[in-house]
Amino acid sequence: MAQVGVRPGTLRRMALRGGAVLIMLWSVAPFIWQLSTSFQEDRALMSPTPSLIPHPLTFEHFFNIFAVKHFQSYVFNSTIAAGVSTLLCLAFGALAAFALSRLNVRGRFGVLALILSVSMFPQIAIVGPLYLIAADLNLLDTYTILIVIYLALGLPLVIWVLFGYFDTVPREVDEAARIDGAGPIRLLLQIMLPMSLPGLVTTGLLAFIAAWNEFMFALAFTSNIDHQTIPVGIANFTNLYYVPWGDIAAASVVVTVPLVLLVLVFQRHIIQGLTQGAVKE
């Protein structure tokens, strides 16, 4: 008849711990290896027994990327392009999601489907025509073109997720606000956005990461260090054939650590934020 799990306590706890360790290893092991490589001489890569502890330890890779290859310029450019585009993405996306959820938009699921389909087109096919437009408008090698592109790439996800969030806010809230004399703007800014904070944080972070790591458009549209972003910078570490492995590892460490810290700070919001809203309790 009824069979409650045998010895649920210890077995379950062990399985949990084991699972957690595996997940940690899965996610972090290659990164740890990158970290280790960034402190080793390139020669050590070829040794028959790879070692996690750098021996001899060297800081030359970090020195190289900043002093010789001016990596800080790429970081600065990426921060601007990804940061501004993410903020705008959240702002425009919130407005659009609000309109679709609350204001009478006919065929709103059609609009949502259109937005989704726009993000399904292979990006490769867009690069060519866009390049020609940008060249005509003298927008090559500017922050503007990158921001506009990353904005367009991030909007579909932001709109969909925020729409999901807004849609689960009960209409009673709207009514209450209207009785208080609040217009749609105040409804959005003072009520719905704060209630959707986890959604904002999550999509903001995902949009930021996507823009931070975007490669194809950045490569096509920027051609000098004043505007090139991190992925392009890393790709340009390779002169002709030689791949400076230690330098690349150092750069990837420099680039990933801030993102991980950001995630650590916001992680509670992120988990809540990925919920489509409805907690049926």
Partner: protein
Amino acid sequence: MRTMAAPRRRRRGNWAPLLFLLPAAMPLAVVTTYPILQGVWLAFRNTALATQENAFVGLANFRTLATDDLFWNAWRHTLIFTGISTLLETAIGLGMAIVLSEYFFGRSLVRAAMLVPWAMPTVVTSKMFGWLFDGQNGVINWLLRSVHLISRNIDWYGSTHNAFGTIIAADVWKTAPFMALLLLAGLQTVPKSLREAAMIDGASAWQSFWYVRMPLLAPTMLIAGMFRALDAFRIFDLVYVLTGGGPADSTEVLSTLSYKTLFSALLFGYGSAISTAMFITEALIAVGFGIFIVRNMRRGA
């Protein structure tokens, strides 16, 4: 009780939605709509930058596409890749999500760490996997030999049998944690009270999972699966950097084929036809998922 909309709304509703939608619509239109339209338009021409041809050729490109072995080869690979990687990532992601949905010490750290694969730039992870799985000096081979799971180095990328699987492995590594986070959110919407009720009724842990949590998780899984499938279909960086489509075209996917046609051979007409074919296939996949999602939502209501 209160279900009527205030009559004032209808008058205001006319231009307010447009104004709200405009800021988002503009970049979307400029960046995606125009180039997409131009892309589809190009598919009906024989535009080739090097020879400066640019004439309307009707369905000629598509007719060539229908008999092009290389295209169907890439199409098959792309579909297989999409199917297997989405399934694996969803399954493994689900496992990870279940572990993470329970409370244990250090959970926040693990959750933060899980975004690392996703956060590392693709340029870096591609090259890194290339080196990890290097047939002769890669760490993976060394590890496997150290624990005596294999006796000789495996040629991960040089063999037509292994290369495809290795690319799938690289993608699963990168994306499973991301899927786990999406599914975790879905898991957390399953009310505890339901699970407790099931336990009291005498259901085992497995039954509780399968019959209580899974059905409620289904919509999230379908939506996450759909987004992931659409993304997987367009895989590019990993394949381009690791194998370039080889060896012997065994890892060629539609994105890399399209890229080579557009930017190496500069056949903008034919390349656009390939992109259009990609888009059509993706739309079919989306519609397929959409039907399941709608049916599922209706059933669960």
